[in-house]
């Protein structure tokens, strides 16, 4: 077994809440996000999600659970052969929805994140900020109940970081709980929000 990354922490993420998860590099932010996204099991401890204990949920039901969670990876994870539109529509496509039923929604969302003119463009020609917004749009596409974003402003300049932050705030106003993992203090200073600070595997929360 590897080293203990997180320990002795108890916290909850209320519905429609907005919080930053911060701490120095290597503190365990990504691990905590992965735990919340069910892409990692805790070696011990209990995680309850949407009223159910995670260890009690069979593997076959995990995709259904993940559909209620949006995740924005630090490295975007866009598929290179699909256009911005197709990448953002992917969550609906894998749910077996008919393209005609979501086309307008996807286009509206792309406009909302400022990618209205980049709909038919492949990720290779998108800038870092555009890729980030496409990844965010994909995470939002099916209106998740909670959005987890790992360093969403790590690859962009300060104006773009502010722009992305305003997107998250907008989303939060629309009812999604948002967790942003970042170590960008300037970004956090712009919003009066809950801060979850990870230090050497321990979590302190400042409401």
């Amino acid at each position: 077994m590897g080293p203990e990354i997180l320990r002795d922490m108890t916290f909850d993420i209320p519905k429609r809440s907005f919080q930053f998860l911060t701490g120095p590099s290597g503190a365990g932010k990504t691990t905590l996000l992965r735990l919340l996204f069910t892409s990692l099991y805790p070696t011990r401890g209990i995680i309850r999600m949407f009223g159910r204990e995670l260890s009690q949920i069979p593997r076959s039901e995990l995709p259904m659970l993940r559909r209620r969670i949006g995740i924005v990876y630090q490295d975007f994870r866009l598929l290179d052969h699909l256009t911005t539109y197709e990448n953002v529509a992917l969550p609906l496509r894998v749910r077996g929805k008919d393209e005609a039923s979501y086309r307008n929604d996807v286009i509206e969302l792309l406009k909302w994140v400022g990618l209205g003119e980049r709909i038919n463009v492949l990720p290779a020609v998108l800038s870092g900020g555009e890729k980030q917004r496409a990844a965010i749009a994909r995470a939002l596409m099916d209106r998740p109940e909670i959005l987890l974003a790992d360093e969403p402003t790590g690859n962009v300049d300060p104006p773009m970081a502010r722009r992305l932050l305003s997107l998250f705030l907008e989303l939060n106003r629309l009812g999604t709980a948002v967790v942003i993992a970042t170590h960008d203090l300037a970004l956090m200073d712009q919003v009066d929000a809950r801060r979850m600070i990870l230090t050497e595997g321990r979590l302190d929360i400042y409401e």
Binding site: F37, R59, V94, G96, G114, N120, S166, R173, V191
Partner: protein
């Protein structure tokens, strides 16, 4: 590009009431994205691309590997079916006839003896036809050893009666032999048993060797196809991960990959199989067009007829299907295994592969 005004210590969420509509951002889109200009009535999007890239290096390489393996497997299959047919032909041709040999003797009326032997043989159930080899035919038979212009009257050459028999219901050779001994003491019945037995064992050995080669080629084909498919899939692991993490069920991911690999394998195996079938058809055509030429005779003597028949073509078709199914099944199992692995990593934090970096 106009940037939206940076929030100045915004207080998020708690005070605001969330709209309930499923496409609530639509109402907000105009204000949140001021750089979009006037909204267009409809945006054109390209026809949705398949989730898996339709062609890439691994896919093309896999198609070529499948085509080559299908070609080799079909060639072997056709070859074995040809050998089998040829061996069966030898066996049936030689066992379709029996020979009565009459040795010349002092005071023997050879012609009468030949007729009598033929008539005796034809009284048995299971015989069909009897032909007495006349002088010229016998001379032709001996030509390689004794040269041309042979006068049979000068030499004590045995004469032959060829009896055609019903292979399915052969006559009682022992009774025939006994009766001939009594009626024509100089007659000797040769039912070709020794030859037939040797040919049967030779034909069986040939077919067995052919089957062995076929099994080897098919095993090689299966392994090559399985490993090539897995190789091609390894380049798509990131797609499996993304699909898995955007909430796709394992069955959906597996189906997408199955469809993709079925297309590749059908194309590859159909090309290989069709090429092999064409090769046999062309060889058959050549053989029938150049019948009675020395080259054709030589080829026929060596390989038999290049006809693989309906069964052979059916075998080629079945091989194409087997390869297609094999590739599809391998793709499915590999994708399911990859998803299992991704899920397994969840319970082992020491394995960080597939996880976003910190």
């Amino acid at each position: 590009m106009n940037e939206p005004r940076p929030p100045t210590k915004t207080k998020p969420a708690k005070t605001e009431k969330a709209p309930a509509g499923a496409t609530a951002w639509q109402e907000k889109s105009a204000e949140a994205a001021p750089d979009q200009g006037p909204r267009r009535a409809a945006m054109r999007v390209r026809p949705t691309a398949p989730i898996l890239p339709p062609s890439n290096i691994q896919g093309n390489a896999l198609m070529v590997v499948i085509a080559i393996m299908a070609f080799l497997a079909c060639l072997t299959l056709g070859g074995v079916s040809m050998v089998r047919a040829t061996a069966a032909g030898w066996q049936s041709e030689i066992s379709r006839e029996i020979t009565i040999q009459i040795k010349p003797d002092e005071g023997l009326d050879m012609d009468a003896a030949l007729k009598k032997a033929r008539d005796v043989a034809l009284t048995f159930v299971g015989t069909r036809d009897g032909t007495i080899m006349d002088d010229s035919a016998t001379a032709r038979l001996l030509e390689p050893w004794l040269g041309t212009g042979l006068d049979l009257a000068d030499l004590p050459v045995p004469r032959l009666v060829i009896i055609t028999i019903d292979e399915q219901n052969p006559p009682d050779f022992a009774a025939m032999r006994d009766l001939l001994k009594t009626e024509v003491p100089q007659a000797f019945l040769d039912d070709h048993r020794t030859w037939v037995d040797r040919l049967v064992s030779m034909a069986r050995t040939t077919v067995l060797i052919g089957m062995g080669v076929l099994i080897l080629v098919f095993t090689a084909m299966i392994l090559t196809v399985v490993f090539a498919t897995r190789g091609a899939l390894s380049g798509n692991r990131h797609i499996i991960e993304v699909l898995h993490f955007v909430g796709a069920e394992s069955g959906f991911v597996a189906r997408e990959f199955q469809k993709h690999f079925l297309k590749i394998s059908i194309k590859g195996s159909a090309a290989g199989g069709a090429l092999a079938a064409l090769l046999f058809a062309a060889a058959n055509l050549w053989q029938s067009n150049s019948r009675a030429t020395p080259q054709s005779e030589q080829a026929t003597a060596l390989f038999g007829s290049f006809t693989i028949g309906f069964g052979g073509y059916l075998g080629i078709f079945a091989t194409i299907l087997v390869i297609a199914l094999l590739t599809t099944l391998t793709a499915r199992l590999t994708v399911m295994k990859t998803i299992d692995e991704i899920d397994l990593i969840r319970s082992d934090p020491a394995r960080a592969d597939g996880a976003p970096k910190s």
